[in-house]
Structures are given as structure tokens and as C-alpha cells.
Symmetry: C2
Subunit: 175 residues, 2 copies
């Protein structure tokens, strides 16, 4: 950030009065520009014991496998974001279950949230951000080609919970 | 948003190529300025069966009661945000439990997350954003003076879960 989005003047980095952290501050109009973590929301779409994975057509991690997920938009709920991202990235319409993992990734100022989901209909055409889509059983999960640690964590918890016969809710941090 | 934070030129509202939603776009430098929901994180601090509430010293809802909570900052985890906000707003050092409620508020593009917590030490001095702090038992909760619906929902779920002897995890939306 170099310029004030409100008035166009140059901004400076400073701790505002009564605050404890540096912010981008505009001395011209007085605006303080807060920057906050973003929510990435997705699903673990299951069908006949297999999990739907998407191979990424975009950076970062082009060509690696992931669960359908993306940035939550203003004016939607986390459940709406999960359904929308799943449809956009994989062509799958899912029935949403409970939230399953909530994972902080402070290094990139993100929080990732994945919902349990059951595939209802799938049109196997990849989205703009997806090279291919596949239903994968546990033994065939490409663990070394999973795009993100939050996705690997979520998949591991899912298979563990399936083994013990109950899906819980898991909060974690990725250092 | 009126000006590009990257180059200072005026921005326009338009759907970028390959996107489906209107964004603030800079035709001068090409920057797309995404705006996303914010996470508000807090706790339900319990001591001897009573809940710690804060009376707000700021707008919105000046003078109303709330649980300690606030905007998550970049580079922190949700758990760190919960501990920090609780200490800042109430002077209470708490031991954090599990996430308890996760509530979307699409009207203001926020997601509220509250953790179970146990008060360890409390210095009864209100923070900059708090008029007073009190430990309140169920019968004394000022339901008509609770600042936010997410806080009322969280308190209700907490007392219900206490009654049935087990604290779960509750996801909800506030229309």
C-alpha cells in the first residue's frame, strides 16, 4: 500500500493513537487502513468413500492436488462460500455437513475452514482454476503432490475420523 | 474506495476478466483490489460458573454488554487473537479451550468465532474499549442489553450446553 484509497494522498506506516500496531495511515484525510486475515473456505466432498480432489491450474502450486476451496467473498456466509467454491472449482454440487477443520496460517495471514460434504451431482468439467478433477480413495491419495499443508492436515484427519467412526471438529495452527 | 492504493489513480467498479463479481479495478496499473470478510475472534471466559462480560465504551452499541472479542490481526492465529482481545478488553488472562461458535454475519461481511475459556487471573480494570467488566451468573445476564446477536447466540448455546453437561461446537448464520 502506497496511496490512500480514500483521498489518493501518500500513506505512512505508523501506530495510530490508542492503537498498539503499525497501520497504513493517511495524514491528509486521517483514514486508517486496517489489513486483516482472509478466510479460505472449502469442502471435503465424499462419494462412495472416495474424496474429490482438484488439480490446480493456477499458481501457487500449479499442477498439485487440492480440495476445492477459495477466498470467502463479502456478503456471503461461510457455508455459501464453501458451496460456491466447490461448484466453481470442481463442477460438483454437494450437500454440506458440519465444519470439520479450522486452521490458522499466520505466515500468510489466512484462516482455512473446510466443511464435510457429500457429492450429489458431478459434472466432470474442470473450472478455470482446475486442470482435472478426480474421485480418489485413501490408498491413492497423492500425499507428495498435495498443494497445501492445510489440505493434507484436513485429509489426514478425515481418514482418521472415518476409521474411528465419527467425524469431529478440529482446530489447528500451521507454524 | 476511490483511489488505487498501489499507484494513486482513480479506481473503477467492474468485473475483471475471468471473474464473476464486481471489484475495484485500477486501469492505470492493472491492480485489482479484492475486499473480503473479516474475522472477529473472542472468548466466553468462565469462572465459578459465571461468565465475564464487558460493557462497551465504544460505538457501535456503546454501553451494551458483550463478550471480549475483536478483529483478528494479520500474522496471528485465531487462538492468539482470542487471548489478546480478552486481555485487552477485560484484563483477564484466560486458559483457552476449544472453538465453541462460528457465526457468519453476511450483512456486515464478518465471521465471529468464540472460544471456550477459563479465567486464570483477572485484574478488574477495564480496557480502552470497555466501561466495566463483571462476572455474571446465568440468571443475571442482561439479555436485553447484549450488544450483538452473535454474542447472545453464543451465551445461549453455552448455558444450554452446560445444562446437558457437554460443550459442543456450533456453526450458525445471522440473516
Amino acid at each position: 500500500m502506497k496511496f490512500c484509497a480514500n483521498c489518493g494522498a501518500e500513506v505512512v506506516r505508523r501506530v495510530p493513537p490508542g492503537d498498539t500496531l503499525e497501520r497504513w495511515v493517511c495524514d491528509n484525510c486521517g483514514e486508517i487502513h486496517y489489513q486483516n486475515p482472509k478466510l479460505v473456505v472449502g469442502t471435503i466432498p465424499e462419494r462412495d468413500g472416495k474424496i474429490l480432489l482438484c488439480r490446480r491450474a493456477i499458481e501457487p502450486r500449479y499442477g498439485y492436488w487440492t480440495l476445492p476451496a477459495g477466498f470467502m467473498e463479502n456478503a456471503e456466509t461461510t457455508a455459501q462460500a464453501a458451496l460456491r467454491e466447490t461448484l466453481e472449482e470442481s463442477g460438483a454440487a454437494v450437500e454440506l455437513g458440519a465444519p470439520f477443520t479450522l486452521i490458522s496460517v499466520p505466515r500468510v495471514s489466512q484462516v482455512h475452514l473446510f466443511y464435510l460434504a457429500r457429492v450429489r451431482e458431478i459434472e466432470f468439467k474442470a473450472g478455470e482454476e482446475t486442470l482435472e478433477v478426480a474421485l480418489v480413495e485413501e490408498a491413492a491419495i497423492p500425499w507428495r503432490e498435495i498443494a497445501f499443508r492445510t489440505v493434507a492436515y484436513t485429509l489426514k484427519q478425515w481418514f482418521e475420523d472415518r476409521k474411528r467412526g465419527a467425524y469431529g471438529f478440529h482446530a489447528a495452527d500451521i507454524a
